[in-house]
Subunit: 317 residues, 2 copies
DNA sequence: GGTATAGTTTGGAACGTTCCAAGAGGAACA
DNA sequence: TGTTCCTCTTGGAACGTTCCAAACTATACC
């Protein structure tokens, strides 16, 4: 009625109502409205890890685009725990969000499928098997190849990879690393150590590398946070970057761009991915599309100060 | 009824209902429930700036505590624009959140008061004039004094301050800087330049300092982001930190802790502040308290690598 | 003045819950 | 067998909206 600026109300009563609204401090109840309209204009977002600045960019993109389209955004986090993630998704669904964005979810496929049965779902940064959901991912294979090729061009051959555990895209990045190494004739140099998409994971990875020489001349870490952890551990061990060892991350977060970190990294546009996810949801909500769509954004290489030519090799032993 | 595990239902029909729920994929509608219960169990959070990692910690604390207490959290951001912030707050209110947390809001006091008329409001990181809201702040005066005292103890006298503009606590930090300088007999050394709580703001501040010599021997930046911007600009100008100039920030964000940034900073516990804010809201929602409460957390000094003794002074000119 | 016609107002029903009162069964007891 | 008491089930009202149909009120035209 009046609050929505509709026609079919006389100017006089519109005026009267507006005054009453003002006087009584009336505020429309969106829950009641959603109940009868059977849509909430709320988009739910489940973020697996809020501490990773990559998701900061994603969230900003989502917010931004959602605002433009007139949607509210409801965030929930899973703190990298599948059980909590599932809970978070269920809460969002019970709140009757119109659509769901899952940013790097770690829940099992059936959980995603169950959510998708209720509302449109866009999965960010994870390959999805089912075709009932849309996805926006980064070409992790290609990104990993870019990283390896960059290091090889600098002259490296002994390039190790610190894996990202259950992190988003981690498995594929590892696969990309392996393939790129093999394609460049370095299959015998492949070396993958355990890590995680956290600083701690990077530190752990480097400790593993230091524990069993020879030390590689370059390290490719599964994401920036992990790379920064690796940086810490390398420096602690008295190694200079990039003189003694080169390092490259993935995500090109704001962290990597800090002048004092200046980490070479693979750029993936988190903000754009967030915006795209909202667009995919909006299309489905408008009924413009029913077939699933899988967007793949192309990563690019950003060279900064942590990658350089390999050392002469006094350290190899 | 059954979904809430209540008594007063026979085991047989409970079983039958449970089966039907499973079969039909029934999911309770929280909007309908909220409508009749006249409470949503949702806490609204308005974050002024998502890009500042300090708020990452705050949000994590809020989420964490809210989950423990059985609340959902609905986030919205204002992107540091008062008009957008007001809009974000209004949306949250229309959604009938049970309580509202405003993290470093930039809206005018009347806007806060109007929100507080509808639901309990906790303001984070900003001094509030009205006594209809609770607040959780950091003792910015004391924090600023800690920073200044630390630099003075190192031997500095020419200590400049890069202001935080309209940022949270910025005005008070500037005041704290002034008072501490005066108290230490350095009133004639007080020097405040314009900046902002962003990297760009820090760069701007340093450019202003470089433009009108003599260069101070130390800089206190209004927050970490600002300090990092200052770091970038100083290094660009060929100055070494801390040999040529010392630098200290505020917030002790995860950024400052990065080994490669290693910024001395004033610690304020964002996570704890977030948790406290949720507790204040919960108290009011439980009707345990009606008088307003203003918590002040005590900041502490964290010394890292960006602060050291002043240069001999070949640069003073 | 009557009648069509548009514009406006009014009154339900519906959305999916919760909560309460009233009704329906049984078991225990005299 | 009837009474009482208890447990469980059933039925409605309410929450604050939207949407639709029906009733009302001017206005214009013949």
């Amino acid at each position: 009625m009046v609050t929505r600026g509709e026609r079919g109300v006389s100017p006089a009563s519109r005026q009267a109502i507006l005054e009453a609204i003002e006087e009584l401090g009336y505020r429309p109840n969106l829950m009641a409205r959603s109940l009868v309209e059977r849509r909430s204009r709320i988009l739910g977002v489940m973020i697996s890890d809020l501490r990773n600045p990559f998701f900061g960019a994603v969230v900003a993109g989502i917010q931004d685009r959602a605002r433009e389209l007139g949607y509210q955004v409801l965030f929930n986090t899973g703190e990298r725990d599948p059980a909590l993630e599932e809970e978070a998704i269920e809460s969002l669904l019970q709140l009757r969000v119109d659509g769901l964005i899952l940013a790097s979810p770690r829940v099992d496929d059936p959980v995603v499928a169950r959510a998708a049965a209720a509302v449109p779902v866009v999965v960010l940064n994870r390959e999805t098997s089912g075709d009932d959901t849309d996805s926006v991912t980064n070409d992790n294979l290609r990104g990993a190849r870019l990283a390896v090729e960059h290091l090889v061009q600098l002259g490296h051959r002994a390039i190790a990879f610190i894996a990202g555990g259950a992190g988003a895209g981690a498995r594929i990045r590892a696969e990309g690393y392996r393939r790129a190494m093999a394609a460049l004739g370095l299959a015998d140099q492949i070396r993958v150590v355990d890590g995680a998409h956290t600083e701690e994971g990077g530190e752990r990875g480097v400790r593993a590398l230091l524990a069993s020489p020879p030390l590689p001349t370059a390290i490719f870490a599964s994401n920036d946070l992990c790379a920064i952890g690796a940086m810490n551990a390398l420096e602690e061990a008295g190694l200079r970057i990039p003189q003694d060892i080169s390092l490259i991350g993935y995500d090109n977060t704001s962290l990597a761009a800090l002048r004092h970190v200046s980490l070479s990294s693979i750029h993936q546009a988190g903000g754009d991915m967030g915006r795209s996810a909202v667009d995919r949801l909006a299309e489905r909500l408008a009924g413009e599309r029913t077939a699933s769509r899988h967007d793949v954004v192309t990563p690019s290489l950003v060279v900064r100060s942590t990658s350089g030519p390999p050392r002469g090799d006094g350290l190899a032993g």
